[in-house]
Symmetry: D3
Subunit: 300 residues, 6 copies
Amino acid sequence: MNSNMQQYLEKAQVLIEALPYIQRFNRKIIVVKYGGSAMIDEDLKRRVIEDVTLLKLVGFKPIIVHGGGKEISKWVGKVGMEPKFINGLRVTDEDTMEVAEMVLGRVNKSLVQLVESLGVRAIGISGKDGALLKVEKKYSDGQDIGFVGDVKDVNAQILYDLLEKDFLPIVCPVGLDDDYNTYNINADDAACAIARAVKAEKLAFLTDIEGVYRDPSDPGTLISELKVSEAKELMVGGYIGGGMLPKLQNCIDAIEAGVSRVHILDGRIPHCLLLEIFTNKGIGTAILNSEESRYYHGEQ
Amino acid sequence: MNSNMQQYLEKAQVLIEALPYIQRFNRKIIVVKYGGSAMIDEDLKRRVIEDVTLLKLVGFKPIIVHGGGKEISKWVGKVGMEPKFINGLRVTDEDTMEVAEMVLGRVNKSLVQLVESLGVRAIGISGKDGALLKVEKKYSDGQDIGFVGDVKDVNAQILYDLLEKDFLPIVCPVGLDDDYNTYNINADDAACAIARAVKAEKLAFLTDIEGVYRDPSDPGTLISELKVSEAKELMVGGYIGGGMLPKLQNCIDAIEAGVSRVHILDGRIPHCLLLEIFTNKGIGTAILNSEESRYYHGEQ
Amino acid sequence: MNSNMQQYLEKAQVLIEALPYIQRFNRKIIVVKYGGSAMIDEDLKRRVIEDVTLLKLVGFKPIIVHGGGKEISKWVGKVGMEPKFINGLRVTDEDTMEVAEMVLGRVNKSLVQLVESLGVRAIGISGKDGALLKVEKKYSDGQDIGFVGDVKDVNAQILYDLLEKDFLPIVCPVGLDDDYNTYNINADDAACAIARAVKAEKLAFLTDIEGVYRDPSDPGTLISELKVSEAKELMVGGYIGGGMLPKLQNCIDAIEAGVSRVHILDGRIPHCLLLEIFTNKGIGTAILNSEESRYYHGEQ
Amino acid sequence: MNSNMQQYLEKAQVLIEALPYIQRFNRKIIVVKYGGSAMIDEDLKRRVIEDVTLLKLVGFKPIIVHGGGKEISKWVGKVGMEPKFINGLRVTDEDTMEVAEMVLGRVNKSLVQLVESLGVRAIGISGKDGALLKVEKKYSDGQDIGFVGDVKDVNAQILYDLLEKDFLPIVCPVGLDDDYNTYNINADDAACAIARAVKAEKLAFLTDIEGVYRDPSDPGTLISELKVSEAKELMVGGYIGGGMLPKLQNCIDAIEAGVSRVHILDGRIPHCLLLEIFTNKGIGTAILNSEESRYYHGEQ
Amino acid sequence: MNSNMQQYLEKAQVLIEALPYIQRFNRKIIVVKYGGSAMIDEDLKRRVIEDVTLLKLVGFKPIIVHGGGKEISKWVGKVGMEPKFINGLRVTDEDTMEVAEMVLGRVNKSLVQLVESLGVRAIGISGKDGALLKVEKKYSDGQDIGFVGDVKDVNAQILYDLLEKDFLPIVCPVGLDDDYNTYNINADDAACAIARAVKAEKLAFLTDIEGVYRDPSDPGTLISELKVSEAKELMVGGYIGGGMLPKLQNCIDAIEAGVSRVHILDGRIPHCLLLEIFTNKGIGTAILNSEESRYYHGEQ
Amino acid sequence: MNSNMQQYLEKAQVLIEALPYIQRFNRKIIVVKYGGSAMIDEDLKRRVIEDVTLLKLVGFKPIIVHGGGKEISKWVGKVGMEPKFINGLRVTDEDTMEVAEMVLGRVNKSLVQLVESLGVRAIGISGKDGALLKVEKKYSDGQDIGFVGDVKDVNAQILYDLLEKDFLPIVCPVGLDDDYNTYNINADDAACAIARAVKAEKLAFLTDIEGVYRDPSDPGTLISELKVSEAKELMVGGYIGGGMLPKLQNCIDAIEAGVSRVHILDGRIPHCLLLEIFTNKGIGTAILNSEESRYYHGEQ
């Protein structure tokens, strides 16, 4: 067998190895929180979208939830608005909300565009469409930070209907309160709320870190598998740094609401999503039920 | 019978009068091109949305196509961009397109928001979602005016699928070329292309004029009913003014593609849509097939 | 704005006011017991049918249950039959039943005819079709009064199937016993049994009185809203007159079986049904659950 | 094997012989025009209904169309109406139509009752339900004979919808003109129009004669099989007597409109319908396409 | 009436008598364990298949489960294999299993062929198709008897799907263990497991005996009706002979799992299945719930 | 990036490269003729089944048609039958047919078993099931060669129904003539007839040669792409050797009946099916329409 043929066979082998994974997730919903560097670098962006499109094509039901990344700040600056802060948090006043919604909307449709260019049916919605995301106003230590909301209700039927019509839904985290005012929602929170509402099989966060560390200052302490009980202990023990805290809480909430597995992936690794799902590489940190093991079928 | 009761009976009478109209348009698609003053005045805006929502609730299948009105210009200015013109036409370069898409997206979701607040399921899409609107680059007398496109293909199935899932689709006129680049589309053209593709029963343009005049300088020459053959004569005869010319061409194209009736309505009249559909008032100008009469069942 | 236009706008306003009601009852079943003067006066008859047809067209699922009014007596006389009475009640012997069924059948099809003339799909059935109404023989104080039956079973699936095929079912109160003999049924009882079986949202009795009075001799004591608990007290207290007693019992039974609201309407008021459903007029007496208030959304 | 067992085996044999016939007509529509003696004799009546019910149960889709037989005349007399005649034809004035509709309605529901007692879902409709039968006024040699109509349109969808919901439709021949007035229709004509509209596989007339005779005065000339071309010759040749003439024309029309086979059966023979369909007995006269032979699979 | 006609009427009568039975089992699943002499005698074979085909055509949902009869032994001999026995039971080693599967497969398709020749859609499957029958290895008094399995799981959905597509499923008793090895299953056991899994209305065993005897040595003690409680007593009391013991246990298990009635029929009687189902003959032994009586509707 | 990661990325790349192919064949039917060495070597067998299972899982609709390979000869010998030959062709007498059907049936179920073990729903049928394959007797130069048939009719609905229920159909080439006798069919012919009947997108033959050669004696003349017109020329020109001749004719017939592409693949290459479909390797010979090019999207 010549070397060319050898190479082809290796390709075939990769496809065959994907078989049990394709089977396991067939017709299962997978929510992908898309953000961080993977949204800025055009190359990474394309690869994430390729990954999700592939998931769709091989029979999964992915839903993308994305933030606006640094685009919002850029445009807030561009139009000459003065940012206000309370407790170090940006205040989303009406004007800021207007810009944020515009930017998120455009990011949303640009992702639709990418997916469509790969030949898959996508639809870009916000929490306003079909009143998907109903929120209540959020306060920061009792202080008014403007139009920032906590998801209090997800109209899962909207997503089921779009999935049934074979759309890949791409959601931007804008919601409505009971008086139908516009609110910004943290994208992690939105992804978590959606994953819980649609009883997703998997929820994956694309982030800019490698995963959860037992000691954030020591890269050697990356945790590959974290049971919910352990995660709680880490949080209580103060081992978890600032930005990771709410994300980890989201992971725990999702698992406790019935999502089978949550992943914190390093979005800077090309095709991290495919690697996580179709290989036994074990990228990033997997948060799972206390009774389970990370690896299926005696992998690894 | 006291006067209170008299008043109630008159109300009942109005509802009963709507009966044959409700019946005639049951499950029929009605495309509404929404623009002009009716998009700017908050009160008119609410009334237009109430009208369309009512159409939905009594069994019609409305689709809204909207432009961005003066909002685009406002934001182009706000971010300090220099407008460029060719042949008196604004050139849509990449930056302008970016702003236009952001603005159109936000207008789109604000209409969704209004419809949802009235308790009806809406979904806001652009021509990118499901690749609804495929375009080809448009030139103005051979000159490049940037990312402005002519609709060359409408994926009607997308709209059928959303209607089947009981959504009121709200469409903003942004499309994709064969290389999946973003293009701006004239909203009138988009509405017309969509009405033709979904074989709408009715296409209504909300405008800032009373209708078509035989003599644009004489308000007394408003035309109530215009057969396609007459419309062509008027155009050839040079009686039709600048802005009206392409709109009238759109009307003719729609009728010839099978849309039953096209209306040019004065969006400045509150509830002009309901009045046109549910009464025999005869607002604005109706363009119809050369063999038909404007009035159903011997009305008027 | 000229007065003509003013008038049109008022019309539009009425339609818009109907919007929340149309929404609330969308796809809900409404059973209308049709009887009394509204069946005799041709003008009232047409209006009742217009009302029900409108309910159908705007998305409700009405079912009409009707009696034979004075037509049965007229025909019993016409064919020269001797009426027999026990305890003051007419005895329905075989011959009387035969005439009654003939008359009810014709009334039934004449209502179908009216609805069809308004362009809506109707179907006229009796309790024999699909064995919709199974009865057991009824006795009056132990005395045999012939072929008069109490409903003991409603085959709701028959009505669901006809509603699914978009028919407006019109039912005349004739039933079958276990040996498939023909029985007459009181129309109020039939309407109530049907409303309970199909879990109707609303059951409305068109009668020849204004409603329930606290003191039947004093028109000023008309009760607008009657909770089930109050109704029971009134009955126990002996405040309710003869004909109203079984009707009120029907209302209570319906509410307790899950019908949301029962109305006793004055069928002599033109369009009383529309007024009750689409305005906040509050015609007649509404019987409702002890925990609810008559008015939705803070009406009145 | 004892004689008892022998008898049982013969029973089994009969069932087995029915197998190919059950197969051939599976899910096919069979229209039965029910009239004559078979409607009057209670024993024959029960057997006809048993036959049709069996057809339904083994997978066919029968539709019964019936007349009122002698019942109409009886009731017209009972209420003391004076019959009027033109050209020897009874004039159906408004009063006569009223009585006719009452009588037909009751006959209709009594057939429903019988079918239901055999455990099969029946529904009794007239041409008014769903506007099944639209007519135009018929004249007799230019003379007005009142409310007698010719079928000009059959709304086949109504019957398809009822069949889909597993009803056995029983139709009485009353129709509506364009102004929604009530008309009487000849039952043979109605059956024929319906069979053509629903593209029935078979149309069977239950009559009071043995079939078509080559010489009506000689019982030995009964025709077993009549091709359309032969039927036309017989009619032209003047061999066909009065009452048979329009019936034969109906048969020809049905065949030419696509009904596979029309049968003129002697309704006085118990179970004539079953015998015709499930055995190779060859009862009455079969009218068929000029290219076919009466017997399937080389029967007889 | 001549004698020929008399004979035809008797035929019609048989069909009419079948009516209530056809009705009772409409759309019900009936599992037929087909084996014994009825599989060997070509004439009996054809009659069994005719019976089951008729059941299918008149609206029942039969499923055939069959064994391989003496064919397996014949072929094991033909290929010159040495039979091995443990505790008097044939050991199914790999080679034997191979032959058994080949023979069962061919018998299976020959039954399909017969049903198809009668014009009914059949499909022949084993427990491997759709992993219909999952087994676990069976031991005989702790001894390894090879690839013989007990059914531990039936994938009923497979059968529902095939029935929905209007197939008559014919199943041969071969199954898979958790490692997807091939196992032989006792056909009685397979039929019983399937009847339980699909919640069959009836399970009928075609055997080579007349039924269950109170005293196996006295043909006069054939039991016509056996309640589950009585059956248990008989078994405990030692009245039941060898081969009948597991069969009776299967019957009891089926009844306790919700099968309405189990029949032990004498497959040597032609059309025993039809006689049992369509007449009140009472062939063989019926095992039923302790509260029921064998005869429906006061038969016998 | 370490070498481990590099390797993983290459895996991801392979999956991503499969994307356009997965898309192109989504929900398309692919018929695989499975035979030759790939049926004998256990390792190759497993890989073929893995390939087809993967095709199923990623959304294609594969159908396997297989022969019996050398198994039939082996068993014919085992049971001591004397092979007869005419014109060098084996005569399939009744006994041979019996053995062939047994062997094919077992091979069929063993493939089902393999697919099921990979977690995909399979069903093994022959041309008898649902009368899938109707044949007529085939003669060799006018000589009777026994029960060997040519496919004259394929009941495609059977396959559509099984595909709709998500089965992977595995078909063995046994058919029925009009008298429902059993016939053997050449597996290549059966695969071709099926591909034509279901309008497959692709038909792939797994063979024991590399493909079609321009000069069979010179391996360097392997043809990668063969247009139908060229294939005909080669055949006429006598360049095509014995065994290949009918196969090539099958290919031409399939293309002319609407199959988009036919492939002659070397089944001895592991995963040849995947390589052909998911890479641009271009294994074996592709036969295609005279207007097309082998490579999609400018591949190679």
